[in-house]
């Protein structure tokens, strides 16, 4: 019987090795797999390359992972937000690398990684510093830049509901990067607030088919990053 549900969050992330590339879902706090990230901090893997739209807020979640100096390099589109202090400070000191990628290019590079497309052309960033040094090409008289797929060792993704096959449903705009990230990692680890029985999800509604998911962890009441920040929490507590 296929059963992708892990016994614990710590077991689920225990496979993550030093030097790994890790995709982390979320747009701001929406969709950020905060319990998986905290378990990753406990687990201790370091020298990570993290691909995520932002760099986390306050001293919890992704910001805490960075604060613990586990991240060598961030690949993201928007590394600063109102409550992000950790990344900016390390970046200014030259102690963390940054690859800045336009948001749509980031999403498409990840999708391509999952879809076996090694590279594609996009008009985004042409004639800007972000396209400098990259290969350009004209199609129908318009300029495009070649962008390469992102594939990762692991993906950490938050969703609303999962079943033992790894089929996933998301919640509103917390869906964001989750579905494409699930496809682009060798091992995708998902935290789900609800566990459904197979067949409970209408096959018309499944957003991420189980084939893209390797491990599911049941986190019934995931924390809200903004609430933790308002409470001045710092991980580990």
């Amino acid at each position: 019987m296929i059963n992708k549900i892990s016994a614990s969050v710590h077991e689920a992330v225990s496979v993550i090795h030093d030097g790994a590339t890790v995709l982390i879902s979320g747009f701001g706090e929406a969709g950020s797999p905060i319990e998986l990230i905290h378990a990753l901090i406990d687990h201790g893997a370091s020298d990570l390359t993290v691909v995520s739209n932002n760099t986390g807020s306050g001293h919890v979640g992704l910001a805490a992972l960075i604060a613990h100096r586990r991240v060598r390099k961030m690949i993201c589109s928007f590394p600063r937000t109102s409550n992000s202090f950790v990344f900016p400070e390390l970046y200014r000191k030259g102690e963390i690398e940054l690859e800045l990628v336009p948001q749509g290019t980031l999403a498409e590079r990840i999708r391509s990684g999952g879809a076996g497309i090694p590279a594609f052309y996009t008009p985004a960033s042409v004639d800007t510093p972000l396209a400098e040094g990259k290969e350009h090409r004209e199609f129908d008289g318009k300029k495009y830049v070649l962008e390469h797929a992102i594939r990762a060792d692991f993906a950490l993704v938050k969703c609303r509901t999962a079943d033992r096959y790894g089929n996933l449903l998301y919640n509103k705009t917390a869906r964001n990067f989750g579905p494409v990230m699930c496809t682009a990692a060798n091992t995708t680890i998902v935290q789900a607030a609800h566990i459904a029985q197979p067949g409970e999800m209408d096959p018309e509604h499944v957003v991420t088919p189980g084939i893209f998911v390797q491990h599911v962890v049941h986190i019934p009441e995931p924390a809200h990053e903004s609430v933790l920040i308002a409470e001045n929490k710092k991980y580990p507590w």
């Binding site: 600063r80 948001q103 749509g104 996009t122 985004a124």
Partner: protein, 221 residues
């Protein structure tokens, strides 16, 4: 040789600018609003028009701000503010969201600007300051893909520097991408002939506008 009037004329308020932008958005348009002043546009859609708002983090059919007890940290816009979803909305993942943007499906994008050049070049993501944390978000995808790019901005910086310039000195978001510019002083259209002034705010004439603008302007009022 700055005249008194030049110093005191402030032109349209940001609300009035937003109203001007909204008046020029056609019924049935799909619209993406940038963070900040562009968000005001949603409040001024004329009676009888239906406009659908897209937010690049995965929602088509974004509705107004929720009441405080309806706030949902998993229902936010690209500026990470709480929003709602209208009946007829849909959620989707980021690659699908940027299919809408890059694929030319969004009709209008309203963005803020640091600088706009007379050729329609836009700089709105970085001042090039070495110490700043560079952050681009979806701006480069938006200007590359959306059919009509509208800039809404103060005509000058707080220290009086022109933002409508001959050539952008800041790093570009995109080259020849802006179609129309709405400032507190004027509405301008980027044309192959140059930057054409379509309307000026009360108390603003071409002389004053030229003094506040680095770009060459064509009077098309």
């Amino acid at each position: 040789m700055v005249k008194d009037t030049e110093k005191t004329v402030t032109g349209w308020s940001v609300q009035q600018m937003a109203q001007k932008v909204a008046a020029d958005i056609e019924d049935g348009s799909y619209v993406n609003l940038g963070i900040g002043i562009p968000e005001l546009v949603a409040g001024y859609v004329p009676e009888g028009r239906e406009v659908i708002y897209h937010t690049e983090n995965g929602l088509l059919g974004m509705g107004p701000e929720p009441s405080q007890d309806e706030e949902d940290p998993e229902l936010i816009n690209a500026g990470k503010k709480f929003v709602t979803a209208i009946p007829g909305a849909s959620y989707f993942h980021h690659a699908d969201s940027f299919t809408m943007i890059r694929g030319g499906h969004i009709d209008v994008c309203v963005l803020g600007a640091l600088q706009v050049s007379q050729k329609g070049d836009l700089a709105n993501w970085s001042t090039g300051d070495e110490k700043a944390i560079p952050a681009v978000g979806g701006a480069m995808d938006l200007v590359a893909g959306v059919k009509t790019i509208v800039v809404i901005t103060q005509h000058n910086t707080k220290t009086g520097e022109p933002k409508i310039v001959k050539e952008c000195s800041y790093p570009l978001t995109g080259k020849q991408v802006v179609n129309r510019i709405y400032t507190n002083l004027a509405i301008m259209e980027v044309t192959p002939e140059g930057l054409v002034v379509k309307e000026t705010a009360p108390g603003v004439d071409m002389e004053l506008l030229d003094q506040r603008t680095e770009a060459a302007l064509i009077d098309g009022r």
